[in-house]
């Protein structure tokens, strides 16, 4: 495969919650098992973090009838490999880089574990591995891409809920699927990721508002750097006022010059 921008398209209407993607990801990337604990849900993974680079989110909602008291939506969540990536923006060591496939990758030999990227990622994707002392997340199977292989999760997905391919192709596939669903009367279907952060490399087809899947709305999907100018401006105004206060308090009052 030529080194062109790649993408995932995750169609939540096809996901059956089997977690084959999670297992394939853990196997390929050698990620540790999760501790066995009861979470009161079929979602026993909980969240994306240093050891979970795919997470099948189980969205439980009130059903539409007595026969169906609960409605399930499943979404296999992953790092979005944002075009304008918050994590990459703040990383002070340049450990986070954009690869030749336009994906976002954390170089484990450069990261020093400052965790600034964790505070920046709006999707709660990155986790801190206390064994390695570094930040970790989905690599988009960088090693597989370099060897012309599909990422492990997309390879394992039995329903093709996770599709992988050149980003442009994924956008077209997503748009076509949205059209089909709209024609079938699924009016609430929508694409997430075509506008957010300059376009995500992981597109999602959702059947509810993004917040239901714990994704920030398009309006809330903002970069950390938005707060640089207001922050420094307030600090500068405070410094000027403090300097005037100092001048008033410390000025000589009829005392001799030094």
């Amino acid at each position: 495969m030529a080194t062109q921008p790649v993408g995932f398209f995750t169609d939540t209407t096809l996901c059956i919650g089997c977690k084959a993607c999670e297992v394939a990801c853990k196997e390929w990337n050698g990620l540790p098992n999760n501790p066995l604990e009861f979470r009161g849900s079929y979602d026993n993974t909980g969240q994306l973090d240093h050891a979970n680079w795919r997470h099948v989110r189980f969205v439980e909602q009130a059903g539409t009838s007595q026969d169906k008291p609960i409605a399930w939506s499943m979404m296999s969540d992953v790092c979005k490999h944002c075009a304008n990536a918050s994590c990459l923006e703040v990383c002070p060591t340049d450990a986070i880089v954009r690869t030749e496939f336009d994906t976002v990758f954390i170089q484990q030999d450069v990261c020093n574990g400052c965790r600034d990227c964790i505070s920046a990622c709006p999707y709660g994707v990155i986790g801190f591995n206390s064994n390695t002392g570094t930040a970790q997340k989905c690599t988009f199977c960088y090693d597989r891409l370099q060897n012309h292989l599909k990422p492990a999760c997309a390879t394992a997905c039995p329903t093709q809920s996770i599709k992988f391919g050149p980003l442009d192709e994924m956008r077209q596939t997503a748009a076509a699927r949205l059209d089909t669903l709209h024609q079938q009367g699924v009016s609430q279907a929508r694409i997430y990721g075509d506008k957010e952060y300059g376009g995500l490399h992981a597109l999602f087809l959702l059947t509810d508002k993004p917040e239901a899947y714990k994704l920030p709305s398009t309006e809330s999907a903002v970069l950390p750097s938005r707060n640089n100018i207001p922050g420094y401006l307030t600090a500068t105004v405070t410094a000027v006022v403090a300097a005037v206060a100092g001048l008033i308090a410390f000025r000589r009052r009829g005392e001799a010059q030094p």
């Binding site: 990383c91 505070s119 709006p122 920030p216 709305s217 207001p230 307030t234 600090a235 105004v237």
Partner: protein
């Protein structure tokens, strides 16, 4: 109105809290030392020296705290030098990157002024220090101090901007943190100088002026606290709810009691002299603690 957040916390905890506290006081002390030197009388020279002497050792603790907080402490230098190319890493829009450089350069100014203050005060009678001491009174020395004070302002303030340049609830929902940390850092610096000037007659003559300045800094801090809470909108419950209100009470005691005591000498004389500066310092620490911890809870 801030949007909904779906983030995980970076677990910046005690080391970072202590770092933010010390950076505020160290930067603030340098600024106060400079202002006393520029605008004060000859009698204020001792307090100014004390400010510079306090600033540097506190600053020395900062990189230690920052380094031990890292997951890979031996890679601290990766923030300064690109591992691959060997060139400096500098990202102006990343406050952590800017802050590391700011801290390094401020360290240089703080160290030189520390030596100059020790030399001028004659605390160590080394010839090289006497030379550095003469720097304090010269025009060149004043230019040096002013540039250093700009870095001092930066070091005291940028930690607030660092929190804001994120996507965390509370921190990223307000533009006030840089100013707020600066104002409280200056107040904490005055308190520290007042504590060290006890029993030193030469420096204590400036206590009145320092307390007057502290009143202004506390008022500035209270205005910024109000703006901070207002700008949070609906997220405000995250910082005021639960047990956090106790820390806010400590912040209030650490600002209002010193403000009144520094205004009313009759009240101040009824309190043991260390009470007011200690209350200020506890308040400065509590303010940072409530902002750092409540957002990550």
């Amino acid at each position: 109105m801030p949007g909904e957040h779906f983030v995980v916390p970076p677990h910046w905890e005690w080391y970072i809290l202590l770092y933010f506290f010390l950076a505020g006081i160290s930067g603030g002390a340098f600024v106060i030392g400079t202002m006393l030197r520029l605008w004060g009388s000859p009698a204020d020279a001792a307090a100014s020296r004390l400010a510079f002497i306090v600033s540097f050792p506190l600053l020395l603790l900062c990189p230690i705290l920052l380094t031990i907080d890292l997951g890979q402490p031996t890679r601290f230098w990766h923030m300064l030098v690109d591992v691959g190319s060997g060139t400096p890493v500098f990202k102006a829009y990343s406050p952590m990157s800017l802050g590391v450089w700011g801290l390094t350069l401020f360290g240089l100014f703080s160290f030189v002024m520390f030596l100059a203050a020790v030399g001028e005060g004659g605390y160590l009678r080394w010839r090289v220090l006497a030379g550095a001491g003469r720097l304090m009174g010269s025009a060149l020395g004043k230019v040096f101090m002013v540039i250093g004070a700009i870095f001092g302002f930066f070091v005291a303030a940028y930690t607030g901007v660092l929190l804001a340049v994120s996507n965390q609830p509370v921190w990223s929902d307000t533009w006030t943190l840089g100013g707020l940390f600066l104002a409280s850092g200056l107040s904490g610096a005055v308190a520290t100088i007042l504590l060290f000037s006890r029993g030193r007659r030469d420096a204590a003559v400036t206590d009145g002026k320092l307390m007057e300045a502290d009143r202004y800094f506390i008022i500035l801090e209270l205005v910024l606290i109000a703006l901070f809470l207002i700008t949070l909108g609906g997220v405000v419950s995250k910082v005021l709810g639960g047990g956090w209100i106790i820390l806010w009470l400590v912040v209030l005691i650490g600002t209002l009691v010193p403000l009144i005591a520094e205004w009313r000498p009759t009240m101040r004389r009824q309190l043991p002299p260390v009470v007011v500066p200690v209350l200020v310092l506890v308040g400065v620490l509590a303010l940072r603690a409530v902002i750092i911890f409540s957002a990550q809870a």
